[in-house]
């Protein structure tokens, strides 16, 4: 605990058990706040939410065996989305390792493919240095999860002599002047330049520099799911999210562009669709801290691995005249803007989310789970900062939303934090309602209930000839009653004319609250690019008649 305190850790998330008991024994004498979740996966996701919003390394504790295995989805999520979290798991006492002892699993081996690095502590004296190195590795370069296994006997031994090592992350520099000049020339030569913004911009803390660059140059921007908020979504040069469920105007711009400036993005398949037909006319400038992303999927004309913010500040490609390009994009933004005028008396989820986002204020933080509601949040809510949108992007882990919201609210107690979830997703970690109640965490939960696994149902409708296999959840519990049983205020709405009152009640409730929203089970997410298709080929449909 002393080593964690020395690293500036003030909050950890976890769940005790046999092999980690020596650490929990020391916890009672530490100023570090421990948040006891009701499942290790909840702790893992909460630590991610805390890390994303606080800008610090998240820390999570669990025991050996099932404690470690319950962390695995969270560790994989942190790896996929490059989130700095140190996971400390107990292990059976060193003499018993490798003997199939009670609650022994090879946590080091199990997690090896989903960590940035991992350690097994082999002596008590190593503890301070390993903790320090783990925190450094998690936060430096391209961030990611680090796992530490601590055998019980080593955790229980007293340290007689501790040597602390100071590790400081050096500030990154811009690319060389020659590289910057080459980028400026490519931009000046382009008639249809486009910024393709990924989550790496947020990790580089380069959002202000990005917005300033856009203001100086007028170059339009699209963003990935993880890049949302890096430039305000209501900025006139921002088109929208690109990719599988991207806005049509955004995908059209990508396909038409002659220069794609990828910033902290990795050409993910959910973004590119058919890679061979993605941005077919574009030269590519790729800025990313991770050299391993350069040319991984798309050939690059200019690689830039310097600091994104410093690069954007140092680049001055003006004057450029791209007014024809800007006008074409503006026309498309207007022509293909989302509509919220669904007919009928039922609740149209995109309209509710759009209104909620407006009423919650520009700086509200949204966390979501995975599925249709996740895409609706990305499409219809507005974000002014990247930490305003926490989502399981790379892994797509249902159950992420509520625990991530817990971590986010604890990191920013004065901010409005809203978790948008679905009836499938919330059941993955519904036990964390007890954590909300235990600590009085003022998280606001919007549960969009279509009584099915909506995204799977939508794909089965479109791609499996309507063969709806194992997606029916019509036997869901009464979620408002469940929340009440956990001590959480809750209410339900089911008609469009109840939406405004529901939003008002949600936002004004001084405590944890759940709004259960019944929506049309047949509603789909549009537009949609079929997997493997070109993002030029967007499937579209008008909103359903709500019942």
């Amino acid at each position: 605990m002393r080593a964690l305190e020395r690293e500036g850790v003030d909050m950890i998330f976890g769940y005790p058990g046999g092999a980690i008991m020596p650490v929990y024994d020391a916890l009672t004498g530490s100023p570090i706040t421990h948040i006891l979740t009701r499942h290790e996966q909840g702790a893992a996701f909460a630590a991610e939410g805390y890390a994303r919003v606080s800008g610090r390394v998240g820390v999570c504790l669990a025991t050996s065996g099932p404690g470690l295995t319950n962390l695995v989805t969270g560790i994989a999520d942190a790896y996929a989305d490059s989130i700095p979290v140190v996971y400390i798991a107990g292990q059976v006492a060193a003499p018993f390792m490798g003997t199939d002892a009670f609650q022994e699993v090879d946590g080091f081996g199990i997690t090896m493919p989903i960590v940035k690095h991992s350690f097994i502590i082999r002596s008590t004296e190593e503890i301070p240095d390993v903790i320090s190195e783990a925190m450094y590795i998690a936060a430096s370069g391209r961030p990611g999860p680090v796992v530490i296994e601590l055998p019980k006997d080593i955790g229980a031994s007293a340290i007689t002599e501790a040597v602390f090592v100071n590790r400081k992350i050096e500030e990154r520099t811009a690319d060389t002047r020659a590289v910057l000049a080459a980028a400026e020339e490519m931009i000046r030569d382009a008639e249809k330049p486009l910024l393709y913004v990924g989550g790496g911009v947020a990790i580089a803390d380069a959002c202000n520099e990005l917005t300033s660059f856009v203001d100086r140059t007028g170059i339009p921007a699209v963003a990935t799911l993880k890049g949302l908020g890096c430039i305000p979504t209501d900025h006139p040069s921002f088109i929208g999210m690109l990719g599988m469920h991207g806005l049509k105007a955004a995908n059209m711009a990508v396909q038409e562009s002659d220069l794609l400036i990828a910033l902290g993005a990795r050409f993910d398949d959910r973004v590119t669709g058919n890679l061979a037909s993605f941005a077919p006319h574009a030269r590519v400038i790729h800025m990313d801290v991770d050299p391993a992303e350069m040319g991984k999927l798309r050939a690059v004309d200019l690689s830039m691995t310097g600091d994104i913010g410093r690069n954007l500040t140092a680049m001055n490609p003006t004057p450029i005249d791209i007014s024809t390009w800007q006008d074409w994009i503006a026309e498309n933004k207007t022509a293909y803007a989302p509509r919220y005028d669904a007919p009928g008396e039922g609740i149209y989820a995109p309209a509710l989310l759009n209104k909620l986002s407006h009423d919650a204020g520009r700086d509200a933080i949204f966390t979501c789970d995975v599925g249709q509601h996740q895409m609706w949040v990305a499409q219809h809510c507005r974000f002014t900062r990247p930490e305003g949108h926490l989502t399981s992007g790379g892994l797509g882990a249902m159950g992420f939303g509520m625990p991530a919201g817990i971590g986010a609210k604890l990191a920013a107690p004065d901010d409005t934090v809203i978790t948008v979830t679905g009836d499938g997703s919330i059941m993955m970690n519904i036990q964390e309602l007890a954590t909300l109640n235990r600590y009085g965490i003022k998280l606001k939960i919007v549960l969009l209930d279509n009584s099915c696994l909506g995204m799977v149902r939508q794909w089965q409708t479109i791609f499996f000839d309507g063969n709806h296999s194992e997606v029916d959840l019509s036997d869901n519990p009464d979620f408002a009653a469940v929340a009440k049983a956990f001590g959480i205020e809750s209410f339900a709405i089911s008609r469009a004319d109840e939406v405004q009152d529901g939003i008002n009640r949600l936002l004004t409730t001084d405590g944890p609250v759940l709004m259960h929203v019944k929506i049309n089970p047949q509603e789909n997410v549009w537009p949609l690019v079929a997997p493997g298709a070109s993002i030029s080929d967007m499937m579209e449909e008008v909103p359903c008649q709500t019942p």
């Binding site: 080091f108 081996g109 090896m112 493919p113 940035k116 690095h117 350690f119 097994i120 082999r122 450094y136 590795i137 430096s140 370069g141 391209r142 040597v163 602390f164 090592v165 100071n166 590790r167 400081k168 992350i169 050096e170 991770d290 050299p291 391993a292 350069m294 040319g295 991984k296």
Partner: protein, 111 residues
Amino acid sequence: MSNTLSIKIDRSERSIIRVLSIIERRGFEISSLDCPKEAAADAPRVMRVGIDSRYGERAISTLARQITRLQNVQGVETGPSRAMPQPEAHAVQDNETMMMTPPRMAGVSVA
């Protein structure tokens, strides 16, 4: 296409497995492996790994960068030759011998 990687690794826990694991995970089959014992117990090891792509055209340069970013890797050289790693880095190109070293742990001081 067959290639040979020469990978310099430290002696941290399961260093060899970590490297071999990422090679397989990134879509390459290990066709040969040579990991001679170094004279000094704390000296870095140099592994030589023969690989073939499982999925057709996958860039060896990308794999080399993915190996290089492992914390326990001190350098990677790729190419048809079986030469030992050289100390200087240069630009990364497929189908030619290259050497990469990770830029990390700068700014570390002992308190």
